[in-house]
Symmetry: C2
Subunit: 86 residues, 2 copies
Protein backbone atom coordinates (compact mmCIF):
# COMPACT_ATOMS: atom_id res chain seq x y z
CA UNK A 1 0.00 0.00 0.00
CA UNK A 2 1.50 3.28 -1.21
CA UNK A 3 1.53 6.05 1.44
CA UNK A 4 -0.24 8.90 -0.25
CA UNK A 5 -1.82 12.04 1.01
CA UNK A 6 -5.52 12.55 1.31
CA UNK A 7 -7.54 14.56 3.66
CA UNK A 8 -6.90 18.02 4.89
CA UNK A 9 -5.15 19.86 7.72
CA UNK A 10 -6.61 22.93 9.41
CA UNK A 11 -4.23 25.76 8.68
CA UNK A 12 -4.87 29.34 7.61
CA UNK A 13 -5.84 30.04 3.96
CA UNK A 14 -5.05 33.38 2.32
CA UNK A 15 -7.73 35.73 1.01
CA UNK A 16 -7.31 34.72 -2.64
CA UNK A 17 -7.58 31.02 -1.80
CA UNK A 18 -10.60 31.75 0.35
CA UNK A 19 -12.41 33.37 -2.60
CA UNK A 20 -11.83 30.23 -4.65
CA UNK A 21 -13.12 27.98 -1.86
CA UNK A 22 -16.22 30.14 -1.30
CA UNK A 23 -16.88 30.31 -5.07
CA UNK A 24 -16.62 26.54 -5.30
CA UNK A 25 -19.04 26.14 -2.42
CA UNK A 26 -21.69 28.28 -4.07
CA UNK A 27 -21.16 26.44 -7.35
CA UNK A 28 -21.54 23.07 -5.61
CA UNK A 29 -24.79 24.17 -3.96
CA UNK A 30 -26.09 25.33 -7.35
CA UNK A 31 -25.21 22.03 -9.03
CA UNK A 32 -26.80 20.05 -6.18
CA UNK A 33 -30.05 22.03 -6.14
CA UNK A 34 -30.27 21.88 -9.93
CA UNK A 35 -30.31 18.09 -9.45
CA UNK A 36 -33.08 18.48 -6.86
CA UNK A 37 -30.97 16.87 -4.14
CA UNK A 38 -30.66 17.79 -0.47
CA UNK A 39 -27.20 17.69 1.14
CA UNK A 40 -28.23 14.47 2.88
CA UNK A 41 -29.45 12.88 -0.36
CA UNK A 42 -26.19 13.79 -2.08
CA UNK A 43 -24.21 12.34 0.82
CA UNK A 44 -26.10 9.03 0.40
CA UNK A 45 -24.92 8.93 -3.24
CA UNK A 46 -21.26 9.40 -2.49
CA UNK A 47 -18.70 8.65 0.26
CA UNK A 48 -18.93 12.15 1.81
CA UNK A 49 -20.77 12.93 5.03
CA UNK A 50 -23.60 15.46 4.64
CA UNK A 51 -22.07 17.68 7.32
CA UNK A 52 -18.89 17.90 5.22
CA UNK A 53 -21.00 18.75 2.14
CA UNK A 54 -22.54 21.57 4.15
CA UNK A 55 -19.10 22.84 5.15
CA UNK A 56 -17.94 22.66 1.54
CA UNK A 57 -20.96 24.69 0.38
CA UNK A 58 -20.30 27.29 3.08
CA UNK A 59 -16.79 27.70 1.67
CA UNK A 60 -15.01 26.19 4.67
CA UNK A 61 -13.24 23.26 2.99
CA UNK A 62 -10.39 23.23 0.49
CA UNK A 63 -11.41 19.83 -0.71
CA UNK A 64 -9.23 17.29 -2.49
CA UNK A 65 -9.20 15.76 -5.97
CA UNK A 66 -10.65 12.49 -4.66
CA UNK A 67 -13.48 14.29 -2.87
CA UNK A 68 -14.24 16.21 -6.06
CA UNK A 69 -14.46 13.03 -8.14
CA UNK A 70 -16.65 11.52 -5.42
CA UNK A 71 -19.00 14.53 -5.48
CA UNK A 72 -19.20 14.33 -9.27
CA UNK A 73 -20.15 10.65 -8.96
CA UNK A 74 -22.90 11.53 -6.50
CA UNK A 75 -24.17 14.33 -8.73
CA UNK A 76 -23.84 12.11 -11.81
CA UNK A 77 -21.88 14.77 -13.68
CA UNK A 78 -18.42 14.98 -15.21
CA UNK A 79 -15.86 16.08 -12.58
CA UNK A 80 -14.81 18.95 -14.85
CA UNK A 81 -18.22 20.60 -14.35
CA UNK A 82 -17.35 21.09 -10.69
CA UNK A 83 -14.61 23.52 -11.73
CA UNK A 84 -16.63 25.15 -14.51
CA UNK A 85 -18.03 28.16 -12.64
CA UNK A 86 -17.16 31.13 -14.80
CA UNK B 1 -9.22 35.49 9.49
CA UNK B 2 -11.46 32.49 9.00
CA UNK B 3 -9.92 29.17 10.02
CA UNK B 4 -10.20 27.02 6.94
CA UNK B 5 -8.60 23.83 5.83
CA UNK B 6 -5.93 23.67 3.23
CA UNK B 7 -3.11 21.33 2.75
CA UNK B 8 -3.07 17.62 3.11
CA UNK B 9 -2.44 15.00 5.78
CA UNK B 10 -0.54 11.80 5.01
CA UNK B 11 -2.96 8.97 5.52
CA UNK B 12 -3.60 5.86 3.48
CA UNK B 13 -5.62 6.19 0.23
CA UNK B 14 -7.68 3.27 -1.07
CA UNK B 15 -7.09 1.63 -4.45
CA UNK B 16 -9.96 3.45 -6.20
CA UNK B 17 -8.74 6.84 -4.94
CA UNK B 18 -5.21 5.94 -6.00
CA UNK B 19 -6.37 5.31 -9.59
CA UNK B 20 -7.92 8.77 -9.68
CA UNK B 21 -4.75 10.38 -8.32
CA UNK B 22 -2.52 8.52 -10.78
CA UNK B 23 -4.87 9.35 -13.68
CA UNK B 24 -4.80 13.02 -12.72
CA UNK B 25 -1.00 12.96 -12.59
CA UNK B 26 -0.71 11.60 -16.12
CA UNK B 27 -3.27 14.11 -17.33
CA UNK B 28 -1.35 16.99 -15.69
CA UNK B 29 1.91 15.87 -17.31
CA UNK B 30 0.15 15.73 -20.69
CA UNK B 31 -1.31 19.23 -20.29
CA UNK B 32 2.06 20.60 -19.18
CA UNK B 33 4.03 19.04 -22.04
CA UNK B 34 1.40 20.15 -24.56
CA UNK B 35 2.21 23.69 -23.35
CA UNK B 36 5.91 22.99 -23.86
CA UNK B 37 6.69 23.63 -20.19
CA UNK B 38 9.10 21.82 -17.88
CA UNK B 39 7.99 21.13 -14.31
CA UNK B 40 10.33 23.91 -13.16
CA UNK B 41 8.92 26.37 -15.72
CA UNK B 42 5.36 25.56 -14.61
CA UNK B 43 6.35 26.03 -10.97
CA UNK B 44 7.68 29.52 -11.82
CA UNK B 45 4.23 30.39 -13.21
CA UNK B 46 2.27 29.34 -10.14
CA UNK B 47 2.71 29.10 -6.35
CA UNK B 48 3.60 25.39 -6.39
CA UNK B 49 7.12 24.04 -5.92
CA UNK B 50 8.43 22.01 -8.89
CA UNK B 51 9.14 19.03 -6.61
CA UNK B 52 5.45 19.00 -5.65
CA UNK B 53 4.49 19.17 -9.34
CA UNK B 54 6.67 16.12 -9.91
CA UNK B 55 4.98 14.27 -7.05
CA UNK B 56 1.55 15.21 -8.43
CA UNK B 57 2.50 13.88 -11.88
CA UNK B 58 3.76 10.62 -10.33
CA UNK B 59 0.34 10.19 -8.73
CA UNK B 60 1.52 10.71 -5.14
CA UNK B 61 -0.57 13.75 -4.18
CA UNK B 62 -4.30 14.07 -3.66
CA UNK B 63 -4.12 17.77 -4.33
CA UNK B 64 -6.60 20.39 -3.21
CA UNK B 65 -9.02 22.72 -4.99
CA UNK B 66 -6.72 25.72 -4.43
CA UNK B 67 -3.72 23.84 -5.85
CA UNK B 68 -5.80 22.88 -8.90
CA UNK B 69 -6.82 26.47 -9.57
CA UNK B 70 -3.19 27.51 -9.11
CA UNK B 71 -2.00 24.87 -11.63
CA UNK B 72 -4.64 26.04 -14.11
CA UNK B 73 -3.38 29.59 -13.69
CA UNK B 74 0.18 28.46 -14.40
CA UNK B 75 -0.93 26.45 -17.44
CA UNK B 76 -3.18 29.30 -18.58
CA UNK B 77 -6.16 26.99 -18.96
CA UNK B 78 -9.62 26.77 -17.41
CA UNK B 79 -9.49 24.78 -14.15
CA UNK B 80 -12.18 22.45 -15.51
CA UNK B 81 -9.73 21.12 -18.11
CA UNK B 82 -7.67 19.66 -15.29
CA UNK B 83 -10.53 17.27 -14.53
CA UNK B 84 -11.41 16.61 -18.18
CA UNK B 85 -9.44 13.42 -18.76
CA UNK B 86 -11.91 10.99 -20.24
Amino acid sequence: MMLCVNLICPIMVNAEDRKIIVKFGKHLAKLRTEKGLSQRELSHRCRIDYSKIGAMERGEVNLTLVSMVELARGLEISPSLLLNWD
